[in-house]
């Protein structure tokens, strides 16, 4: 037990940004429910989860290139592209639906792989390459879906955007969700299971591969990573590929949730910018090497919870962007303390 606490202590000390974000999320989400006129209810939880999943996926997508000290300005566009693809494929027989899901996620992954290839082989700056490929992704999105619309299986939409009980009911599992053993978990929102499930099945194992750790090594000290003989090119391509994968997951969920695809350029841009904000709020260093995709996920949740407050507090929703911006500026200014403490000015330039 003691060693568990010791481990936790070490972890907290090393990941202040992440635990700070986690604590902030818990506090503001707790008070959200306290202040909510109807108190805590699974309906509110389900609704909140639904609104957060797409951004959370995109934030995870952004976190991975940021860990190597890069930036992916195409994540919002790739999410939009995959949502448009999904909006036309997710109907028909179960096999067809599964096929559509696979195609959607593979598209995102392939797009990310393409980004990585151009960046590594062309030796170009990620930020400007993804700025351009983001436009290409939007172009394909508009090709697929020139005007908003789409057809998504109604059962799928209902099952994946509600609690587990509804999921079981739709697909006739656990006696349609009425089995006794099922009740303790029946309230859990399906979107949260998807979100944390994908994160746990993809990111957590990836982080423990040599490629995954090379990402951190590149962001921490690329020269030392080279001296240690790590696979730098492979890791960089993997970072952008994985970013494409998570953006694809975000797009898939967005299509299921809204039952439509919409190649909305401003919306794609907003998702990209919010993903950067989420990454920073979640304790990922823009210089690379510090943080995790899970942190970015928490950052995205914080960003969403802030917007929930406007509804329950009857604050003028017009103030929402102002408050979001101020929160973001305050959060990043905390990091400035370091710059003000540096005693040797030359160290600022490294």
């Amino acid at each position: 037990m003691r060693s568990l606490f010791a481990t936790l202590g070490v972890s907290i000390r090393q990941n202040r940004g992440f635990y700070g974000a986690l604590a902030m999320f818990c506090i503001i989400y707790f008070f959200y429910h306290v202040l909510h006129p109807r108190g805590f209810s699974t309906n509110v939880l389900v609704a909140n989860a639904n609104e957060s999943v797409a951004l959370a996926f995109v934030a995870m997508a952004q976190a991975i290139p940021v860990l190597i000290g890069g930036l992916d300005l195409s994540v919002g566009a790739v999410m939009t592209l995959t949502a448009c693809i999904a909006s036309g494929l997710l109907h028909g027989s179960p096999e067809q639906i599964v096929f559509g899901m696979v195609v959607t996620v593979l598209t995102g992954t392939a797009f990310g792989f393409f980004n990585g290839l151009v960046i590594v082989l062309g030796r170009l700056q990620p930020i400007i390459v993804t700025l351009a490929t983001g436009a290409i992704a939007m172009g394909f999105a508009l090709l697929v879906r020139p005007s908003p619309g789409g057809r998504v299986d109604g059962d799928l939409n209902w099952a994946l955007t509600n609690s587990l009980r509804e999921f079981a009911d739709v697909y006739g599992l656990a006696d349609g969700g009425r089995a006794d053993w099922f009740q303790p978990v029946a309230w859990v929102p399906v979107p949260l299971i998807i979100l944390f499930g994908v994160a746990a099945l993809v990111w957590v194992p990836f982080r423990r591969t040599v490629t995954g750790r090379t990402l951190y090594a590149i962001g921490s000290a690329e020269g030392a990573a080279y001296m240690s003989g790590l696979p730098i090119a492979r890791a960089k391509i993997a970072a952008f590929t994985l970013a494409g994968f998570f953006a694809g997951c975000g797009g898939l969920y967005l299509a299921i949730q809204t039952s439509t695809g919409n190649a909305d350029i401003p919306q794609a841009g907003a998702y990209t910018l919010n993903s950067i904000a989420s990454v920073v709020l979640g304790g990922v260093s823009l210089l690379g090497g510090i943080g995790s995709a899970i942190g970015a996920l928490i950052g995205a949740l914080i960003l969403r919870v802030i917007s929930f407050y406007f509804r329950i507090l009857a604050i003028d929703p017009l103030l929402q962007p102002l408050v979001e911006g101020i929160v973001l500026l305050l959060a990043v200014s905390l990091g400035a303390v370091r710059a003000l403490r540096v005693k040797n000015r030359l160290e600022l330039f490294r």
């Binding site: 030796r123 930020i127 351009a132 939007m138 090709l143 911006g325 101020i326 500026l329 400035a336």
Partner: protein, 319 residues
């Protein structure tokens, strides 16, 4: 042939390539219109003037963006700096309109510069936050509706009037380009920008006040964005929500297409101007071809990636 190539400075290669591409766009567009319509509107001065008039707003914003990219930074607050300056200018109205808008640009630039130079927060995230705050302020100010106030006479005249058949917006663009061109090449401030963008430590140790340089560049960027926003408001006769959103990415693209290094330290103003012309003409040719938005986006992105790959190979040889 080799002698000519040897005489060209490496800095000029991107400009020449981009310039060549402008010519190709014009020729391809004309070939298309000749075969389909039997006319060549792209080569008529009037048509070109109109296109460049619209391009002037992007051109001015891109000049500001170039100032910060030369330092290796970026300014993501351009969209709402444009909108905020335009909205405040129209709501104040009268002779104070333009000074008000410029004051907004100045304040935003000072604030951005402070965050980046003194607090040393990455410009990417700090200017993003400032953009969000500005949006919040403007949404709160207007109640989320399009402002009812109209652009002043002077703003409209500058944006859509013509003198000697040439749009005034072009004069404004040219004047700003000229001023910034002289600043970059002929003043201590300009040379200090290049030095700081190249190697901040070396510039600092040369006794250049690098923090002032950074603040100064962000101020110029804010002023340019404010000017672009007010012109755009003059052109549309009013300011509106999100009016600057379509200018952020093209302004970055124009700067990079023009050969400015995204990590800072090198790039020429001529390049940025050529980059803007390229983007504007590409857009207008695509719209003459009635290319759907989808095709435009794809071509747009492909052109940027393609040009970067060409420049990238260049950079490896010269460095």
């Amino acid at each position: 042939m080799n002698a000519i190539i040897n005489r060209i400075k490496p800095d000029d290669f991107p400009i020449l390539i981009a310039g060549g591409f402008v010519v190709i766009i014009l020729l391809a567009g004309t070939a298309y219109t000749m075969t389909v319509m039997g006319t060549a509107p792209l080569l008529t001065p009037n048509y070109l003037m109109t296109q460049l008039q619209i391009g002037a707003f992007l051109g001015i914003a891109a000049i500001g963006m170039m100032m910060v990219i030369l330092l290796g930074h970026i300014d993501l607050s351009i969209p709402w700096t444009m909108a905020a300056a335009a909205m405040m200018a129209t709501s104040v109205g009268g002779p104070a309109a333009i000074p008000t808008g410029l004051a907004i640009g100045l304040l935003v630039g000072l604030f951005n510069g402070f965050g980046v130079a003194y607090l040393r927060i990455p410009s990417m995230i700090f200017t993003l936050g400032v953009d969000t705050v500005l949006r919040g302020l403007m949404v709160a100010h207007t109640g989320g509706y399009a402002p009812q106030t109209e652009a002043t006479e002077l703003m409209r005249w500058l944006a859509s009037g013509r003198v000697l058949g040439i749009p005034n917006a072009l004069f404004v663009w040219a004047a700003i380009a000229l001023i910034i061109g002289v600043v970059l090449q002929r003043t201590a401030f300009g040379r200090a920008i290049y030095a700081t963008g190249n190697k901040e430590a070396a510039a600092y140790l040369s006794g250049i006040r690098t923090r002032w340089v950074i603040v100064g560049s962000f101020v110029v960027c804010g002023l340019c964005a404010a000017a672009a926003g007010m012109l755009l408001a003059g052109y549309s006769t009013r300011a509106y929500q999100g009016m600057g959103n379509a200018y952020l990415l093209p302004s970055i693209a124009a700067v990079v297409i023009g050969g400015t290094r995204i990590l800072g330290g090198s790039g020429r103003l001529t390049g940025t101007v050529v980059g803007v012309i390229l983007i504007v003409l590409l857009n207008s040719v695509l719209s003459i071809m009635q290319m759907p938005e989808a095709g435009r986006q794809i071509i747009y992105g492909t052109v940027i990636v393609g040009m970067l790959l060409v420049y990238g190979r260049n950079a490896k040889i010269t460095s």
